[in-house]
């Protein structure tokens, strides 16, 4: 099989897989009751997949260990909420402090709101990026973490009452217009990131991850490229935050605390730092495990008259953290390592007779 034929087959498989996913989503939407857990898991999984991929762009592909994701999500979610909560419901939302005058009559449709969420987060990233990106690895991590905390505190503070509703947070955020919405938005955003990563700029990001000094010696302007990666990652984190706001319907500043960043980081680590498909798979797995499959761990259970030990509220998260530690310690590469999912493992099987052509990397390792 020639390389060309292989890539054609890969595309064909991918199209079939996409159609398959679409059919599954359609069936889930059609044949499950609105409260069914799978619906929630899939929607939340799609949101986390986007945020995890955007974090991976920075942490896994550019090698900049950022812990500011929740901060940019907060900015996105609040921007979206402030501009899209229907004008008629605002008196109810801001019942205690009232709405700022300039804001009173500005209302954006959902898509414009999402774009605004991304843009505001990106602008903020551009502002803090120039100084913060000069810092080295762990200092950069701690500075972004500090920045996220600053955002969170300011968003929930009294001087912001008439804009963000202070510590009370915002509610009545528009819900998803339909079941497919988060998948569509998330899918488009992830596709854009994928296109970016396969471009020459994406390669330059990877070069910076591999070796900053060599990358600079190859003519890559470090400051500029790091800034681009930071801004783009924040843009999509902002959109992810907005989707999170839509999913939850109500947000407060504590929604976006450090634990959220940690959760996303863990998804990225489990999926594999530097693998987009890893992040996506891991997002759905982690969310399904956390919100659904491991739920039983939180309920005290009797089998006959035997009280199953350990099971009570909070055990789920303990088990979850232990799984995570096991991954960190023993499976450091995560599900996918730095590889991306591809169809080679099927193609190579079809192609066994020609060993020369099967030299490509395997998908699952």
């Amino acid at each position: 099989m020639t390389e060309k034929k292989k890539s054609q087959l890969s595309i064909l498989f991918s199209v079939i897989a996409l159609i398959g996913i679409a059919i599954v989503l359609f069936c889930v939407n059609r044949f499950t009751p609105p409260t069914f857990m799978l619906r929630t898991v899939l929607q939340l999984g799609a949101i986390y997949a986007l945020v995890a991929v955007s974090m991976n762009l920075l942490n896994g592909f550019t090698g900049l260990f950022s812990l500011g994701q929740a901060g940019f999500m907060a900015v996105g979610a609040y921007t979206f909420a402030i501009f899209t909560i229907p004008v008629s419901s605002r008196p109810g939302v801001y019942y205690l402090y009232g709405v700022a005058d300039w804001l009173k009559n500005i209302h954006l449709p959902i898509l414009a709101g999402l774009l605004a969420a991304g843009l505001v987060a990106a602008v903020l990233a551009a502002l803090i990026g120039a100084p913060v990106l000069r810092l080295k690895s762990d200092y950069f991590a701690i500075a972004t973490l500090g920045f996220a905390e600053i955002v969170r505190i300011i968003v929930g503070s009294t001087p912001m009452n008439r804009v963000t509703n202070g510590s009370l947070g915002l509610k009545m955020i528009p819900k998803f217009p339909n079941f497919y919405f988060p998948f569509l938005i998330s899918g488009i955003c992830i596709l854009i990131i994928a296109l970016l990563l396969r471009s020459s700029y994406g390669r330059a990001f990877k070069a910076i991850r591999e070796d900053e000094i060599a990358a600079e010696a190859m003519g890559i302007n470090l400051a500029k490229h790091k800034q681009m990666s930071f801004i783009i990652s924040s843009f999509f984190a902002g959109i992810g935050g907005a989707l999170m706001g839509m999913f939850l319907g109500a947000i407060t500043s504590t929604t976006f605390n450090i634990t959220l960043t940690y959760n996303i980081l863990l998804i990225v680590v489990i999926g594999g730092m530097g693998s987009m498909t890893g992040s996506i798979i891991s997002a759905f797995l982690v969310i399904a495990a956390r919100e659904w499959w491991l739920r039983f761990l939180d309920q005290s259970t009797y089998i006959g008259s035997f009280h199953v030990p350990l099971l009570k509220t909070g055990f789920r998260m303990v088990v979850f953290s232990i799984i995570l530690m096991i991954v960190v310690l023993f499976f450091r590469k995560g599900i996918m390592g730095m590889k991306e999912f591809n169809w080679n493992f099927i193609l190579n099987r079809l192609d066994k007779k020609d060993p020369a052509a099967s030299a490509g990397g395997e998908g699952n390792e």
């Binding site: 020459s200 390669r203 990877k206 070069a207 070796d211 600079e216 190859m218 003519g219 302007n221 490509g360």
Partner: protein
């Protein structure tokens, strides 16, 4: 004599109280292969790092194709500490970052190979071509500049073909044998389209056979790409075989310069260096 490509003028590099490079001046002419030799710790790599913009020199200037690209003089704390010569001769401050220098046409390799280890051979070369790209991040992401990308890839593959790395183009860089990694590092440097190639101990860690291969490789590259080569090297066979001229430094100071023959018979050099390096 042909055109001067690189001209290092009175460069001094001082770290705290330690003078690593002391008032170094040298010239490299078009089409030459020039070597910089000296005992360990003589300041060779530091000199390279100054030329490539990794360190800004404490004092002195560097010209490239007759145009000043780097210039500095002692400032701040260094003003008092400065122990070198020619203080006050240079007034301007010109401290470009390494990527700017590479863009001007000076490419380098590293003493301890610094490939993009987890990426393929082809990707390593493509990355070096990135800075010459005209497309911006938007057109490149949304596939609007696919023609330029295609051209870039073709050029990279052509380069790999010329340098006998085409067969391993899809291998992960770190999986290559050591000798091949050295070749790839040179290939990657060539992909930046340089007129001057700086090689920092290209034969370090190679066995005699690989060293011979490398010697041929460097000569071939120089001729095929019309390059000027300036290198640091310890393998005397390689240096004497390949160099048009040699500069010798010791304790940061230039102690001799000339053709391989002259250097081999220079008493100062023998004292400082060759005598000691016999066990190499």
């Amino acid at each position: 004599m042909s055109n001067t490509v690189l001209s290092v003028q009175d460069v001094t590099m001082q770290f705290g109280g330690v003078v690593a490079v002391n008032n170094l001046s040298l010239e490299v002419h078009e089409g030459e292969i020039v070597s910089l030799i000296g005992p360990n710790g003589a300041g060779k790599t530091t000199a390279f790092n100054v030329i490539t913009g990794v360190y800004a020199p404490t004092n002195g200037a560097v010209d490239f194709h007759g145009k000043q690209i780097i210039c500095n003089h002692p400032k701040g704390k260094m003003d008092k500490l400065y122990a070198g010569e020619n203080k006050g001769k240079y007034k301007k401050t010109l401290e470009p970052t390494p990527d700017k220098i590479t863009k001007l046409g000076i490419a380098r390799t590293f003493q301890n190979i610094r490939l993009f280890k987890e990426l393929t051979v082809l990707e390593n070369v493509l990355i070096a071509k990135h800075m010459r790209m005209k497309a911006n991040i938007f057109t490149d992401t949304f596939l609007l500049s696919w023609k330029e990308e295609k051209q870039m890839k073709e050029d990279a593959l052509e380069l790999l073909r010329i340098l006998d790395l085409y067969d391993v183009r899809n291998e992960i860089a770190s999986s290559l044998p050591y000798g091949k990694q050295r070749h790839l590092e040179i290939a990657r440097a060539l992909a930046t389209d340089p007129s001057l190639l700086l090689l920092d101990e290209p034969a370090a860690g190679l066995n005699p056979q690989e060293t011979d291969e490398l010697t041929a490789f460097i000569k071939r590259v120089r001729d095929q790409f019309h390059l000027t080569v300036f290198m640091i090297e310890h393998h005397m066979n390689l240096v004497m075989d390949i160099s048009d001229r040699i500069y010798v430094i010791d304790f940061g100071k230039l102690i001799a310069s000339g053709t391989p023959n002259e250097i081999q018979n220079n008493q100062k050099v023998i004292d400082a260096y060759l005598g000691v390096a016999e066990d190499d």
